[in-house]
Each structure stands twice: as C-alpha cells, then as structure tokens.
Symmetry: C2
Subunit: 368 residues, 2 copies
C-alpha cells in the first residue's frame, strides 16, 4: 500500500450473502435518501432531498463565522456572510447525487453507507460564483488545486480529519461553481451546510463541501484523504484508481401504483398506467430515455421534457404510457447522454462501491 | 389465529445473528431518523425530524381537498382547508416518537422498519382542536371510537388498506388533540402529512395520522389492521397483546466529541466534557434524569430544564458535566416520570418490536 492509500486497508467488503450490519444500519438511519415518489417534484421539498453527513452535523454560529481564502494567492481574503451576500447572486437548479448511490446493490457489498437508489435530490441553490473571488485573491502562477475545508470533524479509517476536498483549478474557476447560502429560497438548513457550502454542478456529492470555512489554493496536487484514498474507482487495494468526478447518466422511475409495506413491491390495476420519472447526467446533456416493461427484453423511447437552458444541471422529467396486462412485470428505465454515456445492465463493481449507475428494476404485479 | 390477527402470521422475526435484509434496508433508506446531534435544537429543523411512511407519500392537491366528518354523528361535516384555518388556532410544541424506535436493538429482531434510537423529533404544530368539531357534528350517545383515515394506500401483511387508526372517544376529545396544517411556522411538508394531519400529544407516532381525509365516529370499537393487528405489545402469535398507546419515558444523550465514520464510535479529549440531551415521557411529567459514565455501575442526577407549562408534551433539555479521564468509557442516561415509569437496562422484547425504551449506551474513548 502506498502512502496515498493509508486507511484503505480498513475498508471492508462484506462476505457473500452477509446481511447489512448494525454499523451500516446506523449510517442508513442517520442519513437518508429521497423516497422515489418524490421524483414528482421539480424541486425536492425540504427534508426529502438526500443527506449524507460523514461525521456530525456541526453547530456553526453564523454570527461568528467567516470564510477564509488563502494559500497560493497574493491577497488572502476573509469574508463574513454579509460580505458574501452583498456580492452578485445567482440561483441555480441542480441535481445532486451521492457517489455511493447504488452501493448496497454491489455483490460483494463494500461496507459503508448502504445506499440503494435514493441518494439524489434537486434543489435551487442561491449563492455567488467562486471564480471572481479567487481572482480577487490573486492566484499564483503555480496554482493547480483548490482545497475546500468544512467544519465537520471526525475519523475515517484511522485518519482524523476535517472534511476537505480538492478541486482542480480549472473546475474551481468554472462559472457555475458557487458558494451557496440559500436552498429553495431560504437559508441553508443545518444538514445541508449552514451557513455556506460549495456547489459544483455536475459532480457527485463528495465535491459539494458543506459547512465551508476555508478555501486554500495549492501549488501542488491535493493529497488529502477524501481525494487520494476515498472516492476513487479501484479494482483492489493495489489499484490507485481513477478519481470519482462527474455524475454518470441515470434515469429513475417513480414506482407506479401502491406498495407492500415490507417488500416495497408494487401493485397496479390493469389498463393504462402513466409512468413518470427523471433523468440526468453530470457529463453531458441527456439525449434519450428508454423504458422496458418486460424486464429488459425490449425497449421503447420515453417522452423527455425539453432541457431548460437556464438550468443545464437540473434533472429532466420523462413520461411513458404503459398498457398493463395482468401478471408480474419488471419495469426498467435507462438514460443516455450526448457524451455517449449510458447505464449498464449489470453493476460495474469497484472496491469502494462508487458510482453504481446500473439500470433500476421495478417489479410490478398487475391485478385483473 | 383469530380474525383480529389476520396478517400477523406474515410478520417475521430474524434468526439469531441474521443481518439486516435488503427489505429492511429499503425502509431505512426511505424513512429517516433524527441524527442525535440534532438533540441540540429545541425545535427540530425541517428535514431532521424523523419520518416514517407506511406506504408512499401521497400527492394531495389541497385545492380539491376537504375533510369529511361522519359516522355516528347527527350532522356530518365537510370542511376545506380555508374553513379549518378560519377556526381558532393553537400552536403546540410536541415530542413525537415512532412506536418502533429501538426495534433493531431487540434480539431476535422483529423484521420491519429497523430503527435504532433516532426515530424522534420535536416540532411546533399549528392547528385547531378536534373536540369542538366533533361536538358540532353532534356525537351519538353510543359513540365509542373515532377513526382517522389518511390518503396513503398500500398493502401490509396481505391486507390492502388506506392507513386508518382508531382512537377512543375520550382521547379524541382531549383538548390538546389537534388537526394540524402547520409545522414550525410553515404549511406541512408533504412527508409530514400535507395538507392536514392529526396530532395526539403524548402518543407514539402511529396515532398521528397524516394526509387526513376522513374522520368517522363509531358506535363500536374499531377493529382495523393498525389497531387490532399492528401496534400491539404481543409475546407471541397467540397473544392478543395490549395496544401501544402513550410514549414511554426516555432520555437521549447527544453523543459528545467526534465520531468515527463507520462505527460512529466517539472520541473526546480528557478534561471537562459537557454532556447534554433531552428527556420526555408521554405518560406523565419527567421528574428525573440520571447519568452514568461508567457503564451503569453508578448514577448521578443531571440538571433538568424546568417544564414549560405552555408545552407539556415538549421534550426537556438536561445537562451533566463529565470529568473525562483517558480510557474507554460507556455513557448512559435514563429518565423517570411522575407516573413511576423509567427505562429498563435490558430490552423488553415483544413480537412486533414496539416501544423499546431500553437505556441508550454511548461508548466513548477519552484521549490523553
């Protein structure tokens, strides 16, 4: 193991058939996904958007809080919330998804937060673009990475740390990268990063640093735990792996009809059943959503709502009309993007359980 | 099995040592607890209050919605939201807890929503008292139960149903029983029952019917699934069991220091460590909170915030100062109420995993 993989030896993969442990359950009951019926909302109502907190939600007093910008800059800055909110503000509708979404569907299962499919949400983030602030601070010629550090503190695989993520300078300077203080028209709630968070549209959740307190420009690549060890697509402990970055394409279907409490299996009556859902990709515009109602044997195109030029990183609604006949059926949906990306029929396993965008399968019993 | 226990045979208890299944996980990732650090807030911020949805969150259009009051009354009523909101309104701060809280700590584990400790929350509910409405409808002399039916529909252990709970007439007529349209100063969010829900202070969550659409007065006891089959304290399938009603006493401790990501184990530095938490009982006022820092060998009284006469069903803050010396310790807290109730040291098992108010245990490593 290289120095970069300190802590990886503490990652564990479940034995074949091993049930979810109490440690995974403790994460699943603290964190929460978006119930899939909430795909019906353009903007996810407060409390239904997914939440993943690595450590504890910190108690940040906004009155004593200030953001520091330093490191390889000519003029370090210190801005309180009033100073930030006095800057030009934009509101952007953005789909967010946890990089670990789908982890519990891998076999064998990497032991961590055990998401199934629900670690997504759509919100309107209000904040100020980051790039002009970095330019005001005066970037050094040798600047390569920008590190964002939150107020959340804990231990992860033996490494005590404040949560910190590095972003390549070019990504930090994208005009859509925001320092956000508002969510859906109100101040950020505690669990979404109050008083200030980073929003990097198109990227998985690990880049969206919450409870932001320091931005540091580096003249060398950032080698902290969350970039160098966690959030990499690794085949095994000897593989450095590619970093997890932008969100892979995905379509999700709002399961139709009504559920059984314990199995969550679905029931509908025969006849015309409208199917609806959302689709997104953080890599390129979604070009196509296809639906199968026969377990993946045949596929048909779904109707896809037009892209909103004002919100290129929002999810998009899709619809499909199913003529349901009695029996047991399996519904599937998959998205493709302009970059040629789509969703695999089988999970593409990796050691840390990242970015599993396998096609969703929804068994449905059609009643006579 | 009697007719009253139809469906109970489909309830399952996990084998000894059996891990959490994907069905339990699907419930755990949809529903969510309150992260215990949120014990710091008098009123739980939106999105941190626990949520348990039996089926799907229904999409209720408030403009077409009306509440019906009928059954054994002389004058059936139909009221839209404007008519309800024109009535006298009160705002009440109430602790809610799911009857299944603690279920996943039972051995063997009843298979259902697998809560650990987090299925709690404190909210300010705004609504109108139910009793005057029932009196306006004119209760029949033979009225005994009142049934509250929601818009949520599903199947539970083979029984297709709209979620419905009966309440004895005397409980329905308590002055604190509310029809609530507001939560923490804003309209109910979808997952908390929009546009209208029942709030029965002091009772476990199953009584707090969400997405309320009909109230029916009965001249006989209600024998629906959620009263006669679910939510009973049963020793085995042959036991009718006592109904689950009011919330048992409980104290919860906000785990101090910082956590390990995967185990959620806590770490603090040596010295003075303030311990804080909340305590409640739905049966009688909390009279005492005690803390143990040595795994339960010795107990000391904690400081308990005074009761607020305006909010008798709110949780109450407590504090304790711990002088932490290096090593591994186990912190415990327990509440007692004026009714003589307290918390057991070991779980009191029952078939459906109800009302487990066993004392919380928080292992902590104190660093030098």
């Amino acid at each position: 193991m290289s120095a970069d993989t300190a802590g990886l030896g503490l990652a564990r993969v479940a034995a074949p058939g091993e049930g979810i442990g109490l440690d995974e359950l403790a994460l699943a009951t603290r964190n929460h996904g978006m119930p899939l019926e909430a795909l019906r909302y353009d903007v996810t109502p407060p409390g239904l958007h997914y939440v993943l907190t690595h450590y504890d939600i910190p108690a940040v007093d906004p009155s004593g809080w200030a953001l520091e910008i330093g490191g390889a800059v000519t003029t370090p800055l210190r801005l309180d919330l009033d100073a930030l909110m006095a800057r030009p503000a934009v509101t952007s509708r953005v789909l967010l998804e946890c990089a670990g979404n789908g982890r519990a569907r891998f076999e064998p299962r990497p032991v961590s937060q055990p998401w199934l499919l629900e670690a997504v949400g759509s919100a309107e983030w209000t904040g100020t673009p980051l790039a002009p602030l970095l330019e005001e601070a005066g970037l050094s010629d040798g600047a390569v990475d920008v590190v964002f550090t939150g107020a959340d503190h804990g231990i992860e695989r033996g490494v005590e740390q404040d949560y910190a993520r590095g972003l390549a300078l070019a990504d930090a300077l994208r005009p859509e990268t925001l320092l956000a203080w508002g969510m859906n028209g109100v101040p950020l709630p505690p669990q979404h990063g109050a008083p200030l968070r980073l929003v990097v549209p198109g990227w998985y959740g690990m880049a969206q640093v919450k409870w932001l307190r320091r931005i540091e420009v580096l003249d060398r690549p950032f080698d902290g735990f969350q970039n160098a060890t966690a959030y990499r697509m690794m085949a095994d402990l000897d593989d450095d792996g590619e970093p997890v970055t932008r969100i892979r394409p995905r379509a999700l279907l709002a399961p139709p009809g009504w559920p059984d409490f314990m199995t969550r299996e679905r029931f509908v009556r025969r006849g015309t059943v409208p199917l609806t859902g959302r689709a997104w990709s953080g890599r390129a515009p979604v070009t196509r959503v296809e639906v199968s109602t026969d377990g993946g044997s045949s596929w048909s195109g779904a109707g896809l709502a037009p892209a909103d030029p004002a919100h290129p990183y929002a999810w998009r609604a899709w619809t499909y009309t199913w003529t349901a006949t009695p029996g047991r059926w399996e519904l599937l949906a998959r998205a493709s993007d302009a970059d040629g990306g789509t969703q695999p029929a089988e999970p593409e396993w990796n050691l840390q359980g990242m970015a599993n965008n396998v096609v969703q399968r929804v068994p449905v019993t059609v009643l006579d």
